[in-house]
């Protein structure tokens, strides 16, 4: 068969999980990372990142809504996916997905966004007319109570939800890592490091995404960027990146030193079929270069230079984390479980699991985010911009 080198078990020649399954951990990672950045302000009181608090929440929400779509599109029988809620198989790592997802979306993100925006929703309800009025009335769940007492309760519950949300975000993405890390048949995946590596790469990608969104939004709105905020986000991105890199290096060192039965096969794969996506894109372009940029940017005096460097670092980070997801998901299927051969992933363009659909799935959350930002502006009204205080409770 085309693209097969050495021996594959006959049933292995076709790859089972496509680029859509690459998107799944990529997107959920962005959600978890964005949320954790948001909680920095809310729970850990990092005031500097306050201007991005609401933007981070909305970003997490927009990507979260899209997160199950690649899975749905990939299933042989999407119409049966609801069975995972009705008859979950308790021993299956995957069966939990629906519940973890719902918990995170419904109990954490939606509640937190709603509490955060409740006051503005009520005001918008009272000031608008027609369809908008009905929409805002529905969003307010019919309650007009925005007395100081009520808002204090909102704030307290919001804080509690965020505190619950942090382990939930860890759960969401650590869990995605577990789905791969618990497959003992596959030595490329099977490691207890997988959930934690997934988690830190999620934080890295989510923080980078919110940083980029903040840069883009201030540019679009033609307002001054809060450099203190941007510098702080970049600093946290750098810290998370260093932890992420250390974890990945630990995994690598462990594999090389143990050199178990799969090592030669995987080593050969990394140096051949995965060379561009793993060594070049993930490690050099997507990790070492952004780390160097983020560290170097701290030496730059001029804000304009730092902004440009942060933008470049953010973009490269997202490329690197996408490459990481690709290398895990696709890389884990390129070698035979007999360790005797390799196959090739043929990526099509306009098929159900092709490039076109994947691009659409990456653009969709951005469109959703645009809609959310329009409906629930993450920044105060124009007059109050100088104040830089999005939460007005």
């Amino acid at each position: 068969m085309d693209g097969v080198q050495g021996f594959m078990y006959p049933n292995e020649m076709e790859l089972q999980w496509s680029i859509l399954i690459v998107l799944y951990p990529f997107i959920t990672g962005l959600v978890a990372g964005a949320f954790i950045l948001a909680s920095l302000e809310r729970v850990f009181n990092v005031q500097a990142v306050k201007p991005t608090y609401r933007l981070a929440l909305l970003t997490a929400l927009a990507f979260m809504i899209v997160a199950p779509l690649p899975l749905q599109l990939h299933l042989g029988h999407p119409e049966r996916s609801f069975e995972m809620y009705l008859t979950p198989h308790t021993t299956s790592a995957m069966a939990m997905f629906g519940f973890v997802y719902l918990w995170y979306l419904m109990a954490v993100l939606i509640v937190e966004v709603w509490l955060e925006y409740r006051k503005e929703i009520v005001i918008a309800w009272q000031q608008s007319s027609g369809i908008a009025r009905t929409a805002y009335a529905l969003l307010a769940l019919g309650s007009k109570n925005i007395s100081p007492d009520a808002l204090r309760v909102d704030d307290r519950i919001g804080r509690l939800v965020t505190i619950v949300g942090i382990p939930s975000a860890f759960l969401l993405h650590g869990y995605v890592g577990f789905i791969f890390g618990s497959v003992k048949a596959n030595p490329w995946w099977s490691t207890p490091m997988m959930p934690i590596v997934f988690l830190f790469s999620a934080i890295v990608s989510g923080v980078a995404l919110v940083m980029l969104m903040y840069l883009v939004m201030t540019w679009l709105r033609k307002v001054d960027i809060d450099m203190h905020c941007l510098d702080t986000i970049a600093r946290y991105l750098l810290y998370a990146f260093v932890v992420d890199l250390s974890l990945e290096l630990l995994d690598l060192a462990h594999r090389i030193y143990e050199a178990d039965e799969s090592f030669k096969t995987l080593d050969f794969m990394v140096h051949t079929r995965l060379f561009v996506s793993q060594i070049v894109l993930q490690i050099v372009v997507g990790t070492l270069v952004p780390i160097a940029l983020l560290a170097g940017a701290r030496l730059a005096q001029r804000a304009r230079v730092r902004r440009a460097v942060y933008t470049a670092a953010g973009v490269l980070t997202l490329v690197g984390i996408f490459a990481m997801r690709w290398n895990v998901v696709i890389g884990g299927q390129l070698f035979s479980k007999s360790f005797l051969g390799y196959t090739t992933y043929k990526l099509a363009f306009a098929t159900r699991e092709g490039v076109a659909v994947s691009l659409a799935l990456l653009v969709l959350p951005l469109l959703l985010l645009a809609g959310l930002v329009h409906l629930l502006p993450p920044w105060p009204p124009a007059a109050a911009i100088a104040d830089h205080s999005p939460r007005s409770s």
């Binding site: 089972q16 999980w17 299933l75 042989g76 029988h77 049966r80 995957m94 069966a95 596959n186």
Partner: protein, 252 residues
């Protein structure tokens, strides 16, 4: 405590809403039961297979019979059973040359190198007692029958392919017709009627033997007592019930 009509309706409504999914779930649990065979008591059997490497001549009859009996796609990447040929150079035992052209369906060409150790290895679902595929199925569409056979409920499988990833032996694939997981059923529709599996039936050399470990009179007990058998990838701790006699250490 007063229990007026309003409270009654509320309470009943709540119960109806809450139990509807449970009722739906129960229907699926029931429909997940294997095909009934009259007079067959699943709990009285525990099926296993023995494969004698030295008897296999690589003719591919088993592969053909399996595809014909079970309606498996004739495409070269879908097999419930297949045959591999190992060629091991005594000077380089670490790098065996392995091939399975069209799963061995059409037999094998002449060996590539003279003077090497050559043998055939028929493969099929190992019917593991601790199957990773059963473990990972998110809806329980893959299950183990009381007689130890791992089956797939095609009416229920989502086609998520997690089980294909979880099988260490490459025994599963996605049926291109139904878009659901597929694998060897040990010809469950036949063995529950007292017949042999298709592959055992057609093997001209008797390289395959279907045994019942719960039947004290089955010759499989004597065979296992008198032969040095092995299973594939024992380190996976899946406890396969497909035993190989004369299995070379190079086989994976």
């Amino acid at each position: 405590m007063s229990f007026d009509r309003r409270a009654f309706l509320l309470q009943t409504g709540k119960w109806l809403v809450l139990t509807a999914p449970a009722v739906a779930a129960w229907e699926y649990v029931v429909s997940g039961e294997p095909e009934k065979a009259p007079g067959y008591d699943a709990s009285a059997h525990w099926w296993a297979m023995i494969i004698d490497i030295d008897r296999c001549i690589g003719c591919g009859r088993c592969v053909q019979a399996c595809k014909a009996e079970n309606g498996v796609s004739l495409e070269p990447q879908y097999f419930r059973t297949w045959v591999e040929r190992y060629e091991i150079d005594p000077d380089d035992p670490e790098h065996p040359h392995v091939e399975s052209p069209n799963g061995g369906y059409d037999g094998f060409p002449q060996p590539t190198k003279p003077g090497v150790k050559t043998f055939f290895v028929p493969k099929l679902c190992n019917q593991c007692a601790d199957s990773p595929c059963v473990q990972v199925c998110p809806v329980g569409a893959t299950f183990q029958t009381p007689d130890g056979v791992v089956l797939v409920d095609k009416e229920y499988c989502l086609g998520c392919r997690y089980c294909v990833q979880a099988c260490p032996y490459g025994c599963r694939f996605i049926d291109p017709e139904t878009h659901t997981a597929d694998k060897c059923t040990l010809c469950y529709h036949r063995i529950t009627k007292g017949l042999q599996t298709a592959c055992v039936e057609v093997c001209p050399t008797g390289a395959r033997y279907l045994g019942d470990l719960k039947d004290p009179n089955d010759p499989i007990h004597e065979y296992l007592r008198t032969h040095k058998v092995h299973v594939l990838k024992p380190q996976m701790a899946t406890h396969p019930k497909t035993f190989y006699n004369g299995l070379d250490g190079a086989v994976r």
